[in-house]
């Protein structure tokens, strides 16, 4: 019975997700344009991009990330060192007071690992982001084409 209730709650949550990227607010933070790229069905990895603005006087930082489509989600950064591209995990990402954290292709992104069945264009899923100060919130992520360079 409990599992049916849980499934129902997840279904309701899924239906409540808007079809397009929207702004989500928590305290002084606003999160915009959360999007991901489609992958092949067997893909193990994916990337999510979003922009977080901090209207407050205190910096905040991301302490945890979670998505039901992936085993785990961690902040990563691509760096070009001469001709060589490197990708590595970053530490906790900060959002400066009165500033913004902008993620985009070729830079900072949230890497989804151990994807469960890949990501399809048009799909959406919640990304649960826990901030040190602003608390936890679910950000709806919409999946664009594999070659998308921004939210579609």
């Amino acid at each position: 019975m409990k599992s049916i209730l849980t499934a129902g709650a997840v279904l309701l949550a899924a239906c409540a997700l808007p079809a397009t990227a929207e702004t989500v607010r928590a305290g002084d933070l606003s999160i915009e344009q959360a999007w991901a790229r489609a992958t092949i069905p067997s893909a193990q990895t994916g990337a999510v991009y979003l922009t977080i603005r901090n209207g407050g006087a205190q910096p905040d930082r991301i302490v945890a990330l979670e998505a039901p489509v992936a085993g785990h989600a961690t902040p990563h950064e691509t760096k070009q060192d001469g001709d060589v591209l490197r990708m590595a995990e970053t530490g906790p990402l900060s959002i400066p007071a009165g500033g913004a954290l902008e993620m985009k292709p070729g830079g900072t992104h949230i890497m989804l690992m151990d994807l469960k069945g890949g990501l399809k264009p048009g799909q959406s899923f919640p990304l649960t982001v826990t901030f040190e100060r602003a608390g936890t919130l679910a950000v709806p992520v919409t999946v664009g084409r594999a070659g998308a360079m921004g939210p579609e």
């Binding site: 790229r37 489609a38 992958t39 092949i40 069905p41 067997s42 893909a43 193990q44 990895t45 994916g46 990337a47 785990h72 990563h76 691509t78 070009q80 060192d81 001469g82 001709d83 060589v84 591209l85 490197r86 990708m87 590595a88 995990e89 292709p105 070729g106 992104h109 890497m111 989804l112 690992m113 084409r145 594999a146 070659g147 998308a148 360079m149």
Partner: protein, 209 residues
């Protein structure tokens, strides 16, 4: 101690500091990710090399297959979620900008991660961006030999939690129909500049540029 002695001691100290500084700088520099050999632009790329890869349809792909058509070569791997889709998207947009002229181009995506990228995976992955882009993979030793002869660097980097990622060269190679390396592209170049470079490839091996 005379002034001359003092000067000698001071200059010796400067000398020691310079040598020590150079050694420290040399040791601190990131470990040689630069390709050992720059391809000779006057000769067909990978001329004299012997390797055999597989294209996404399981057909052999060897140095003898490099000439024939103007070729755009991108390097990456399918488990790379950020920059490889960006590179392939850049090439797909380039093909779209070229319109019907783009049909003469052969766009190839060569993996730097042959252990995980099978021909079938490469086919599915490249089709996400443009069905004209063909994937190329192969046995790890063959792939390593091919990348070396093409002047492409790659290195496996273990990640926390057991998996690995790949560091690799970002350069996109542009080969003319005689298989000579004519130019390179960087995904930060404006689309118009990229189109002009590819148009020069299409003009043929004898054309300037």
């Amino acid at each position: 101690m005379t002034l001359r002695h003092l000067r000698l001691i001071l200059w010796s100290a400067v000398g020691v500091a310079l040598v020590a500084g150079s050694v420290l700088l040399w040791r601190a520099s990131p470990g040689g990710p630069v390709p050992a050999t720059r391809p000779d632009p006057g000769r067909p790329l990978a001329e004299g090399s012997r390797w055999q890869l597989l294209d996404e349809r399981n057909q052999p792909f060897t140095p003898a297959d490099l000439p024939g058509r103007p070729t755009v070569m991108v390097f990456g791997f399918t488990q790379c979620p950020d920059v490889c889709p960006t590179s392939l998207s850049y090439v797909a947009n380039l093909l779209r900008s070229l319109g019907p002229r783009g049909e003469a181009i052969r766009p190839l995506f060569l993996t730097v991660d042959p252990e995980r990228d099978t021909p079938a995976v490469m086919a599915d992955y490249t089709d996400l961006f443009d069905p004209r882009i063909h994937g190329v993979t192969g046995a790890p030793d063959q792939m390593a030999a091919a990348l070396k002869s093409l002047g492409i660097f790659s290195r496996k980097v273990p990640q926390d939690g057991g998996g690995y990622t790949m560091d690799h060269s970002a350069t996109i190679l542009l080969l003319d129909s005689s298989g000579r390396l004519r130019s390179t592209l960087d995904i930060h170049e404006e689309a118009e500049a990229a189109v002009r470079k590819v148009e020069r490839l299409l003009a043929g091996p004898g054309a300037p540029g």
